[in-house]
Structures are given as structure tokens and as C-alpha cells.
């Protein structure tokens, strides 16, 4: 990452030479193919910017056009017309609930795994196996994870997590099931950021703690965990943005009921967890022409709200990484993406 900052060309940029006049050679002497490539690279970069600007502006325009406070604060209604189908309060709450469940499961798992791998990691082969396991999860398509969730929560062993019909079949669909699968989506980014953070903690900090007579675990609690707090924050934020953006898991594991429908007769909290519902993403899907509801305007409004969340999370990641003041920006970009 420091390679970029000390990069000769970026240093040239910073001193205001500008990219068009390269080091010592005028563009006029360039070959056509080189000029073409330069042009193409600029065009590609600007195309990306243009696409992003178009998306943001278009969603913003649609959002302002269709979003109204009563959409956010009213519950979805069963109706065949766009006017009568209510708002997306439930999906909004559903998104938050799933995020909380997913992070509550993923964060401890990811942090503990990262700690074990970096600080203990014995036997070595087992550590590699765990690392590759998490890498496999990271590469697994979300629809496969969703179907895995369906398979595992339909087992009678896990029937407590969803509803059981009178005939004895387990539905396997509930907030708990969806949240558990969401944690698999959020786990890899948290794991990777925390692991990388731990690896960059200088070893003299550990040695100093050991010298003071601290045990390994005490060092972890008093020295390392506080040291990687910002990594944990970044990882969790990335995990959250994975969760709120996911659609396939919600559609498969929460069903297409737009209202949060707790398990009837269940306890206040547990009933909701065992019940069905929706999130912003599934609301958008259901209300788009691909789904059932046929309310594209509401889909746009919900997508606008979702985009606001995404933008906010992006800002948070950026804030944290700037506070960390350790990179020029795109290393975190990579962390956030892959």
C-alpha cells in the first residue's frame, strides 16, 4: 500500500505536472497505438464515473419523485393496486433485524477465527484449512448459501428455528434461518479485515505485553483487540453492507410475505425471529415487474432508501480508513470489494 504513495508518477501528479505531459516526452512523439491506449484508459475511467453518476442521479431522481414519509412509516398492505399497497416499514425493520442477527453471529465467529489463526494457528495445517474454508464461503454464490440454509433448517433437529406445520413438515424459513445464512455472507469480510489488522500489529507490542508477564489471552484482550478496533469496525461495516444488499437469501428463506408475520402465538421476540417477513431488497424484487406486487414506483422509492444506506456505509468505511490514516484509499476499496 505504501508503494502507491511513494509511486514516482503519483508524486509527479501531486507536484502538478499532470498526466498528459509525461516524464520528459511530449505526446506528439508517441506512437498512435500509445495515444489510443491513453485515450482508451481515460475513456474507461470516465465511463465508470459516468455509470456511477448516472445510477446515483437516476435513483436520486426516482427516489425524490416517489418517496414520501408515509411510505416509510406505513406497513405493506395486501392490494392489487399500487395506490393501496401501503409502504415499506416492515421491510425496513426486516433489513435491520437481519443485519443485527447476521452480525451478532458473524462478528464473534470471524474475530475469534482471525485471532486463533494469527495468534495461535497450531497445528499449521488446520489453520490453513480454516482459512481456505472461509475463502470457500466467500466465493460461494449467495443463492447456494440460501439453499444450504433451506436444507439445514428443514432438518427436524433445527425445527426450533422456524415453523412446523400441522402435518409435521418444517418450513425452514424464518428470520433466524435467514439471519444465520446472512452471517455466512458477512463472515469473510470481517475475518479478512481483522486478520489483516492483527498481522500488521507490530510484534514488539506483543513482546512488550509478554515481558510484563501477561498471558497470550490477556495480551489479546488488553493489547491486540483494542489495537484492531478500527479493523473490526471496518469489517463489520463491510459485513453489514453485504447483508443489506443481499436478495437471494431473503427471497428463499423469508418467503414472499411483505409484512413481518411473527409465528402466531409465539413469544414477542422469539415469535418474530421464527416468523417470516421481508427486507428492502425482497420488497424491491417483489414490487418490480419480476415479482408479484406490480408497484415499480414503490420499488424505486425502496431502492432509493437502500442506496442511501449503501452510501452511508461507504462513507463510514472511508471515515474509519481515513482515521486509520494508513492507506491511500484503494487498499480499503479492495477490502470492501473482494
Amino acid at each position: 500500500m505504501s508503494t502507491l504513495v511513494s509511486h514516482p508518477i503519483s508524486a509527479a501528479d501531486r507536484s502538478g505536472i499532470g498526466p498528459r505531459r509525461g516524464r520528459g516526452s511530449s505526446m506528439r512523439t508517441w506512437r498512435w497505438s500509445d495515444r489510443l491506449l491513453l485515450l482508451a484508459a481515460w475513456a474507461a475511467g470516465l465511463t465508470l464515473c459516468a455509470i456511477a453518476a448516472a445510477i446515483v442521479l437516476y435513483m436520486g431522481y426516482r427516489g425524490i419523485q416517489y418517496l414520501s414519509p408515509e411510505l416509510i412509516f406505513s406497513r405493506p398492505q395486501a392490494s392489487l393496486t399500487q395506490a393501496g399497497s401501503g409502504g415499506f416499514l416492515d421491510p425496513l425493520l426486516g433489513t435491520m433485524l437481519l443485519t443485527v442477527i447476521g452480525v451478532a453471529i458473524a462478528a464473534p465467529l470471524a474475530i475469534c477465527s482471525a485471532l486463533w489463526i494469527v495468534e495461535y494457528g497450531r497445528p499449521n495445517w488446520l489453520a490453513r484449512v480454516v482459512e481456505s474454508g472461509i475463502e470457500i464461503v466467500a466465493g460461494t454464490p449467495d443463492i447456494v448459501i440460501a439453499f444450504f440454509g433451506l436444507a439445514i433448517f428443514q432438518l427436524h433437529l433445527l425445527s426450533f428455528a422456524s415453523e412446523t406445520a400441522e402435518g409435521g413438515g418444517v418450513t425452514g424459513r424464518s428470520f433466524l434461518a435467514a439471519g444465520a445464512m446472512m452471517s455466512l455472507i458477512a463472515l469473510p469480510p470481517i475475518f479478512v479485515t481483522v486478520r489483516d489488522g492483527l498481522q500488521t500489529v507490530p510484534s514488539h507490542m506483543r513482546e512488550a505485553a509478554f515481558a510484563l508477564g501477561k498471558t497470550r489471552i490477556a495480551t489479546i484482550r488488553r493489547v491486540l483487540l483494542p489495537g484492531v478496533r478500527s479493523n473490526i469496525a471496518t469489517g463489520v461495516t463491510l459485513g453489514v453492507s453485504r447483508i443489506i444488499a443481499d436478495t437471494a437469501i431473503v427471497i428463499v428463506l423469508l418467503g414472499s410475505t411483505l409484512r413481518i408475520s411473527p409465528q402466531p402465538g409465539g413469544a414477542p421476540v422469539l415469535g418474530v425471529l421464527k416468523g417470516l417477513g421481508s427486507t428492502l431488497t425482497s420488497y424491491i424484487y417483489e414490487n418490480s415487474p419480476a415479482g408479484e406486487g406490480g408497484a415499480p414506483q414503490k420499488a424505486y422509492a425502496a431502492a432509493f432508501v437502500l442506496m442511501l444506506f449503501v452510501l452511508a456505509l461507504n462513507l463510514v468505511v472511508e471515515r474509519i480508513s481515513r482515521a486509520q490514516a494508513r492507506s491511500s484509499g484503494f487498499v480499503t476499496a479492495v477490502e470492501g470489494i473482494v
Partner: protein
Amino acid sequence: MHRIRRIAASFAAVTLIGAAVPAIASATSVITISGATASFPLVQLLAHKYTKLEHNKVSFRISQGGSTVGVNDVDAGRVTIADVSRDPLPTDPTGLDFYPIAEYGICIVTNKSNTLPSLNEAQIQAIFEAKDKEWSQVPGATASGPIDLISRTSTAGVLTNFKTLFLANKSVASTAAEEPSEGALEQQVANDPRGIGFLSNYRADQGTVNPVAYNGVACTRANVASGQYTATARFYEVTKGEATGAAGKFISWVRTSKAARKIISTQWVPIKATS
């Protein structure tokens, strides 16, 4: 550190409460329903009313998926009741009880811009078997270009009925797009100026698509009720074995009570008491 421990303790507390409560919880009964997307609006209305009448002692969990999905679900014990929008088929699992609850019409629908007034059986067969491929071959059509057939996936009871009632049990041409639900089909026809499909009379009447008269009779609730519109079918509630318990009470309420008949009569036609 103290904070972390407190959080851990409160997690433990929540888990304990969570484990203790479900034992007391099952005072109300849940009726789970899956199946036809065509009868979904009706069953939802009925369930809503019934829940109110029973002072929330009963609650419903209704999902869709298509008639055949409902039949499979109820057979496998995944739901209590299946909504089915077609008559029993020989391929259905044995041991299921079909209770008819309402009659509905099946309408041919086109895009609103295509104000096709009426079709007869031969025309419908030519269109849906893809013998007529251009709108120019259909008298009265205001659309141009190829006809886009929009059908339903094979789990749909409405599709089964459509084939029996209009196509003499032949299949819709294989080029047809297949939509998983009534809503999706309605969307598709509403968005495609060259589209044609079929919907239950309630869906067709929502103002998003153009319902086409069949043999000159408009596809409306009134014409279904009077018997003038002949392409009609029934909604069933299906249980595994005789309907008992909460589900049985609900089904008999739907079939006999005045309140239920009133709801059914708004858009559909109640089954006459003799049948």
C-alpha cells in the same frame, strides 16, 4: 471489559427467556395455507375476516406458488390447507379432500393499448397454439407485429383450466413465456403491447389490462354469476383427509356463513348450497 461481560450476561438472559416462553405460547392455532395465486386475494380477505371474528384466536400463514405446489405441500404435511384453482386431477396424490369455495371466470387479457373486443374459441385456439402468429391475423386487434403469448408455469391451476376450457386440452405453444403467478402475468401483459394471456376475472378487472370478451360475452363477475360467461372454474380448499380442527372450522365457515358469502360475492361467485 466490564461492558463486554454485561452484554454477554444479557445475551444469556434473553436466551433463557426465549427457551422458557414457547411452552406457554401455543394458545392460538395457526392455519398454514399454500397454493393457487389466483385465489390468494380471496383467501386473504376471508382469512382476515375470520381472524377478526375469532378474536385473533386463529391466525393464518398464506403463501402462494401455484395449485400443484399447494397440493404437494398439503400431501407432504407442510401446510394445513392447499388453495387450488382447478378441479382434482388424476395425477394428484390420493387421500385429499377438495372443498369448493367459489366460482370464478377465466378471462383472456391483452395490453390496454390493444383494444381487442372479442374472441371466439377457434380464434383463441389459433392464437395460443401459435397458428396465428401476427396480430394482423386477428380481426379487431389494434396491435401490430408478432403475438407474444404469455402463459403460466405448469403448477398453475388457472393454466389447467384454460387448457380445458379454451384449448380442448391441447397445450399452449412452447414459445409462450411462462409466468409464475397471476400478478406476474398481469405485469407482463400490462408492459408488453403485443402480449396476450389469461387471468382470473378479479385480476383481469384491476384496470391494468384489457379483458377480452369471449364469444361476445364480457368477462365480468356479473356474467359469471348469471351463467352467461361460460369459461368458469372453481376455487377449492384442499386438506389431507377430512378437514378437522381449526382448518375444518375455517373451511365450513367459508362454505356456509353469510359473512363469507358476502366477501366472496364482491368479486367471485359463491358455490350454490346444493353442490
